[in-house]
Symmetry: D2
């Protein structure tokens, strides 16, 4: 890949990366390490500069010290930090300060590509964009990376979108959903379209249900203030899980790498267009026991920390197939998974005189990336009864994926995509709006009616939802145990 | 399974097993250990007796000593041997001797199930059957196990079949093809019919080619006399590989365990009926360098030790799909495998701007049973190019299949089937005849024209055949390396 | 076809046809006209003789006069009748009389093929067969044609079968189900297997329901005595409709014309084996108003003159597809039809913002043979709404099928098959037994519990059953009108 | 439909239709009759005015007389003509004259929807548009209808597009391809997506080849001047047939009537994007004998009057399926047809011991709209051989489609679509450009190398092309005769 990238035009041009919100958490945890990772992999242009911008006054050295804390120790660390500068301003509308930024850019190179990373609250997006427009000049492209939340309902999303559109057109805006940077999510199109056996089975004729799961084993841990205003649907489902759903459900693009044509995003929008607004009776809400004990959470909060819901994609490919999205905090484990459950093998239970569990394709996004298909085999030995096993590829075992070089962080991947001008992995404004269209009536009703979620104990699978999920069409095979690559005890065969 | 078996009728009845050819190799290596294995697993009836019969005079103790040599040391060994007796006769037509056998049976129990194991040359089958018919009496079933070769062409096969039919009807005859006793072969119907994803892909719409391979890393080792008269086609392809082919290609039976209905065998015969006699231009013959140095092989032998051939199954399911059968001695490795190669993922090479290798389902019969599907994934990391990996279940890792309790020998499995009266795993006479119909014209032409096979060096993949096999429709992906569960070196990703 | 037939061996051999029950109704209405039709088509051997046998004394001339009444006027009529003779006997066990028959045969030709047509009550089958066996001799094949009823439940059927088996083996017995002689029924395999578009759609993935209908517009008309003992299930469903069902549901044979292999019948039996005994809750029974007024019917008769029922064929191909069988007397029209209703076009109702009726393949057996597929097209003109029309082939319009030369009677076709030794179109004993196995428990329960059917007015669609049929899975499109080839009035488009 | 239309907003607003080129052929033959037809069907708004514009001075009465000549006699004719006015100008850039037009509009109604119909040469499109922009004002929408040719290669097309874009945006421009107004072309999406049996078969798994044919029985008839500059590829194939191809090959839209979303056109563009530029070896060119005798054609013209070519749509749905486009003048008949040829029924030729012709779906666009599927049935009568027949719906017979009320002219349909603002049936600029991208290299090479087409006699099927077409993958069944609804002579069955 280094060979490919280093022959691309932008790689020969000077590059300035301006990080708004340079003192914040996001910049520290994601932006700096990702840029450093690109640097050490030789994926940044030779000539580059990083300018931190924030409100607090800080010397360049102090800034470098701050950034350095978040980088792994490496011979290249010092050389990387020498490319970092810092400028502070009164606000994100401080035109004088931004003019200083512009001067720094011009001094670095009059012709330079410019990447503005908005590691700042969404409320400051519009003013920042406007100020940049008014102050930053010079040849070379100018791109902006934005982070969620992109509004809290359809109307607020539209307002945000429109206010940004006053300064920059859609092509310059790269909205990050970091799920689109995960190895297994990026893998979805390769899996679906380069494998006959998946491409042939990927529709309502073969698929009984699709289940997307996000589970966290911890709660808000005393920092529930932000979360409480959003809740699990806005925090995880409406964006991350819906993005994954789109990639699972979309029609094939003509070309995979069609950065210009924007076809992948158009196909994703078409998935959303085929989804009707979620019905209230198709959701289950939960709140973990003790959530309100978080001092930053109101004592009477009805915010959900768990949600399972069902929706349908009304296209010829998916007619009748339930998509079940499930996310929760303070559950029994950490896991993000895609489960494609296939239909019953026709006639099998009659032929074998016993029920045959369904095949299921599991794509584990985290932790420990893996793909496996639950598959029935004859019970080894004298018996002729079927038993469920699995065909698997574990990315650690097969590709050494625990190594961050092999398996770079989502942010690192996505920033590289921005630099390369490949927009397919970012969220277009019509995707945002369609996603909000689907969820807004539900969210408004929950708020209006102050719906109380079911309370569930921490460390469990969440509130009772298995029966409902089975009604929706996903069958759990409670007999099956996943042995994660180890030998099954004989007593269990 | 022990629970199931021990509740079946036959398990409560006395059982006598008479082994004709009790001094021979087959009995020693397969029959005794298998019976002992059934015994130690509690699968033989409480009341049983084993009677060895051969021409050499021997005391019972000597016989027990002989048998004992082939059994693993186990506390049960002595008790097992106490059930063994020995009777000798002039020949397999010696009615007096067989009457002595009958007396021994009557003495043991006037009512007893009787299993005659013909571990003797095929030329003595008919006379043995006739003598048994004339001398052995008493209530209880009487079944006969036969071993290949069942003739050397259509005519000789028919003669053999007819001479046996004079004494016993088809229901009493159990013709062993030990490939039908292998775990992965017995697994085929479960794989095909209890898994939606295989059942849906199992036809000409999705499958490009089927490849059955048998490879041995050694030659005849000085004992080529028998082999030279048969050659690799008769030794491996016409029976073992064709049996496997039938199970891959057959239509679904109504019930899997329909011992009475005999439906599985009828469906297998229908596969054979849909195959036309092999064409001479559809085969490649080879003989390994040094084969004729075997002192038991004629100096001018044109017997093939390698053969690859193509045939078609002319049913709606298989129209146009080449079945390629390949077997050889003195090759580079020991392996028996089924490879189901799927068609190209439609449109993928255009979409990915690069060729995408084909999916392939590999079922490894031996050594180390495993199932894997070659599957394209995104190259892990920054790249978006597809690379071929595999989803796999390895029976050693998953089921501890290196343990003979978990994974009993083919003979052990098959003898149990005979005792249970389940005939589906044995070769019916019309299967034999259809298989010979397919091969006889080819074999006769090779012999008539004294066709000389290509010479290939020992320890190689055999004579040049890859180009032809590709013409037939099976594409080798030479880029792909099978890592057998270990991590792929980074340089290879 | 005349060319093909006249080159077959049997066509050069002398043929004797002996009709037992020569004075009866069946012989008069079906046997004589069919033989005459074969004769005028040049399909009988040059040298043939017809011998009528019955209990009433009659001269040959009288017999010829009797036969002649049932033949169309034709130049060939006289010549045909000159080949007819008559012999009478005391009973169907009268060996002397049958010896006379044998003499007549010998006199005609010592070497002759012999066809015995049993146009007699089933109660006389066994004795007739035995008498023939004891008296008739000479070279040439001997075949027997039998007519239903073949018993009235599983046990009586087995008895009948066994008593016949004592005299003749299965290969000599040709059991007629005249539905197997209908053009459209004989067409089924060609339709299914020679057309890609049917073969590809012929399974549970595409088919929602199969409906087989038999409707008669008249009741028993004063001759209900026989019918009352049997009822509509035994009279129509258990035999005729089940035979049609088997041909619809069966797996493909290797060869269509495999007279010897008997594969088609084996595949039909496998369909029956995959059907469980009908459940009482899966039937609807009816009796038309006035049925008991028939003087030959008991005043308290609970015999059904209408039945609709549902069953499942538990094979991979048909899992989940309801087969609905419906037959009735005194209904609104005369019709026998097969309806294959396809599933909803996936996603169509969402795409078109309106429900799209299902496709349906209709095969009309009688009257006026036709095949059509209900197909949605755009409403012609400015509208873009879908409307249901049909693609059709009408056998009268396309093939002139109202002409009996083009479209010979079922009996004529079947008698020719017997002469040619093609048994695929006749009912094998295991088919009979499996069919009875499916219906016997139901029939016994109805009789044991004296279940009263719903009364329905004559000339209607029968008792209320549409709701139930819809629950079973077949949807009626009440909007659709079948215009039978004529232009749809504009107001209806 | 009248009910639907008359409730739409535009139908209540005043409407002005300005026809540029009011004296020309196109206006006379298509525009006036279509507008009149809409008028008599009640589909024009109550308040409407038609303004003819051309360079020749003419009184309003004379104009009305001119228009009247092209209208059918009808009671409404006079009332219709009273709404027609005429204005003449110096040129299509005559701003004064256009101001007069604007005044006439304002006088009619200050608020009015305005439709400009460009029945003028493409060379005057840009200036006309610009003049309109500069002169015409007032509330209400303004839409422009354009007619081909849209350039003669990629570059000229782009220029034309760009010059128009300077005055009006894409949403206001309605480019007519009158093939998109044909009943059967408009029917394509209903056929494909509302019928399970077509939707399930519509891909490379079932379809062997797609053939689009346009045949005219006459040549240029002395008016070849225009044609000679374009040739058959530009005249018929690059636009009309490619438009039809797009509708056949496109992926399903989410909604059929998505006027706003423009999804159908996006999906059509995606089809074009998946087609590579036509290869020179994949075409056959012809010129009919006598073409150069046309006095308006150069004596050494190498212009093609016939072309057959093959291309591929490289999507998952169509991988490997040849699309064959064929158009010609002076051939044996008038016909425009779509032929979808299905693959061989798998295994059928082995099962039937005879070749079974392929199914073929034929959609006849003209003359006499019809849809039929060539289908194999058993030869009626005694034979069991398959013979090809067809299931058909003939629009004349079924819907009385010879009546222009039922089946309005393409122009009438399309003008109504413009009025309703439904743009899906018009050609978007990226469609134009992609279509030219595919054909331009080929056209340029033909011109550069002055390639001489094969000469073929008038009234024939064109130059020899059947062998090539068969190589490409379309098999002609020469045995088959289409009887057009009439009975097949017995000798032909």
């Amino acid at each position: 890949i280094t060979a490919v990238v280093s022959s691309e035009d932008w790689h020969f041009a000077p590059l300035v990366i301006v990080i708004l919100g340079a003192s914040g958490d996001l910049a520290a945890k994601k932006t700096y390490p990702s840029l450093f990772s690109l640097y050490t992999s030789g994926l940044l242009p030779k000539q580059f500069k990083i300018i931190g911008y924030a409100r607090s006054p800080k010397t360049i050295l102090a800034f470098r010290g701050h950034v350095g804390k978040y980088l792994s120790n490496d011979n290249d660390k010092l050389r990387f930090l020498q490319n970092c500068e810092y400028i502070n301003g009164q606000s994100y509308g401080d035109e004088d300060a931004f003019r200083t930024v512009n001067e720094a850019i011009q001094n670095f190179s009059p012709v330079a590509n410019k990447l503005f990373y908005f590691a700042i609250p969404a409320s400051t997006f519009a003013v920042s964009a406007k100020t940049i427009k008014n102050t930053v000049s010079g040849e070379g492209w100018l791109r902006i990376i934005l982070e969620k939340p992109f509004g809290h309902d359809l109307e607020s999303c539209r307002k945000l979108t429109e206010s940004l559109a006053e300064s920059y057109n859609e092509e310059s805006l790269y909205r990050i959903d970091h799920y689109l940077g995960k190895e297994m999510v990026q893998n979805l199109m390769t899996l679906r379209f380069s494998n006959l056996y998946f491409s042939r089975l990927w529709d309502t004729q073969s698929i009984a249900a699709v289940l997307l799961t996000f589970k966290e084993p911890f709660g808000t841990d005393g920092r529930g203030g932000y979360f409480d205003k959003y809740g699990i649907i806005r925090d995880i489902i409406q964006n991350h899980l819906m993005q994954v759903l789109c990639l699972i459900a979309m029609e094939p693009p003509v070309k995979l790498d069609g950065s210009s044509s924007d076809q992948i995003r158009t196909n994703k929008v078409n998935v959303l267009k085929a989804i009707e607004a979620i019905k209230f009776e198709d959701i289950i809400l939960g709140q973990y026991e003790g959530y309100r004990d978080d001092p930053t959470v109101p004592d009477d909060s009805t915010t959900s920390t768990f949600c399972a819901l069902k929706l349908h994609v009304n296209t010829p490919r998916w007619e009748g197939v339930p998509f079940i999205l499930k996310a929760g905090k303070a559950l029994d484990e950490r896991k993000a998974e895609i489960r494609i459950q296939f239909k019953d093998a026709p006639g099998a239970s009659f032929m074998f005189d016993s029920p045959c569990p369904r095949n299921e394709l599991v794509i584990r996004l985290q932790p420990r990336e893996a793909i496996y298909i639950k598959t029935n085999v004859k019970t080894p030995g004298f018996s002729s009864q079927p038993v469920q096993s699995e065909l698997e590829v574990d990315y650690n075992t097969r590709f050494g994926a625990s190594d961050s070089k092999t398996n770079p962080d989502a942010y690192t991947r996505l920033i590289l995509e921005v630099l390369r001008g490949r927009s397919a992995g970012f969220v277009r404004k019509d995707e945002l709006e369609e996603a909000w269209r689907i969820f807004t009536p539900l969210l408004h009703r929950i708020e209006r009616e102050n719906v109380m979620p079911q309370i569930y104990p921490q460390g469990t699978r969440g509130p009772e939802h298995d029966v409902k999920v089975e009604e929706w069409g996903y069958l759990r095979n409670s007999e099956y145990v996943y042995y994660n690559g180890s030998v099954v005890p004989k007593s269990k065969i």
